[in-house]
Symmetry: D2
Subunit: 137 residues, 4 copies
């Protein structure tokens, strides 16, 4: 399984009137997770775009279990669902700093789109990078 973990500090601007992180901000953390995962593969998402491919989000799902508080360090765990063909699917867990509490679980699905906004096949260079990493696991 291709997986990666990064962390993030919750700031005041992430919280809301209930004193916990606002639900939309989990989607920012999902983005951080998948971006850092690409980077860990040696291929930044920025590079993918520079090569003319885009990965807009086609679907997002998130279950919120326990709230995240101001100034918490959260763990962002992301893994690639390699069973998905055509596009990409990432699974996420937002966990506490020590990894013991799961704050939220979710996924995002992405289509490949070319410069003209047309849905396209996954680019070969990306498939190779992923296959390469999977073969080393």
């Amino acid at each position: 399984m291709l997986a990666y973990k990064t962390t993030c500090r919750v700031i005041y601007g992430d919280t809301d009137n209930m004193g916990v992180a606002y639900y939309a901000n989990y989607l920012r953390w999902f983005e951080m997770g998948r971006t850092e995962m690409f980077r860990s593969l040696g291929l930044t998402y920025k590079t993918i775009e520079n090569k003319g491919f885009f990965l807009p989000v086609s679907e997002v799902h998130c279950k919120f279990m326990t709230p995240v508080q101001y100034d918490d360090v959260i763990g962002i765990e992301v893994s690639l669902d390699t069973s998905v063909r055509g596009g990409m699917k990432f699974d996420y867990k937002i966990v506490s700093e020590d990894g013991k509490a799961v704050h939220a679980k979710g996924y995002t699905k992405h289509a490949f789109v070319d410069c003209n906004g047309r849905v396209t096949r996954p680019p070969k260079f990306l498939q190779e990078v992923i296959q390469n990493h999977i073969s080393k696991l």
Copy 2:
């Protein structure tokens, strides 16, 4: 069906590097939708909180069909799924100003929580307001 529609103008701050609305902002629009629906029932969400009940989001789902552009006016359509007991479920559609294009579809689920953060039953005053409106449909 309890339903409500409101609108919102997409600002620069809602957009991203791809020139379209960033996916997390759809969750802000979902919030606007359900808040205005409560208001249309004659009971603001703020009042519900002042009475000691909170409705944190326990789950969110969204499918993104066509992107929303800068300066678009979007329609936020929300309906209450009255088949759900215990908590609340809202269904959303983000549509174009003329209602012809569906940009996104999604739902949120919410638990009722009291001042001490304990999950609780739906408050009677809210059930009555909803029943009252349904009976008039």
Copy 3:
């Protein structure tokens, strides 16, 4: 004086751990104000961009007097400082719904930039629209 007023409802996503609107969101409201002012002149900011001119913010200032609460309707008052040449300067007041309380005061300064990112003179079509409106005051 060229001036315009619009309003906005404060949502949960705008608030923070202190129970009031997070300070960065005032800059979103400033944007809403100046965008709607352009629209009121019959020339949207989007049109200006489509004609090849951009107005990035070069400076922002804001004084926060009294906090804005969740679910407040705020008034966004904006006026164009017509004494500024070269770029544009907008002055803002964030006021309570009834206009009696001033929550914040600020300004933004903008340079004109062309498609290549070079600072340029104010476009004639914009100067004419503004002169035209000022002459009618």
Copy 4:
């Protein structure tokens, strides 16, 4: 001079239609900077709040020099203006990863407020922590 530097990666959610970071997000970075500065002094802002003191922003200023791009790592440099009595003033620079380019410069001013929202004097424990660090410079 009390100073601190931290870094942050610019995500898609920070950018806008112009392909650069949206101006309101600089205020998030200012917050990150001052929060990490407090932490470096051995006293988190959260602890200050837990002791009953709040530091709402009373004023913010920012000059934007060169835009920040998607996926940039930015440096957030913050220093405490120790000449200010009564409240606190922080000066900020948003710089490129190598520190050579200055993207933005700004400051925030803060009042001390107690649990009842009344402006109060700076708490002794905070003054001591700051004096202690200054004496070591």
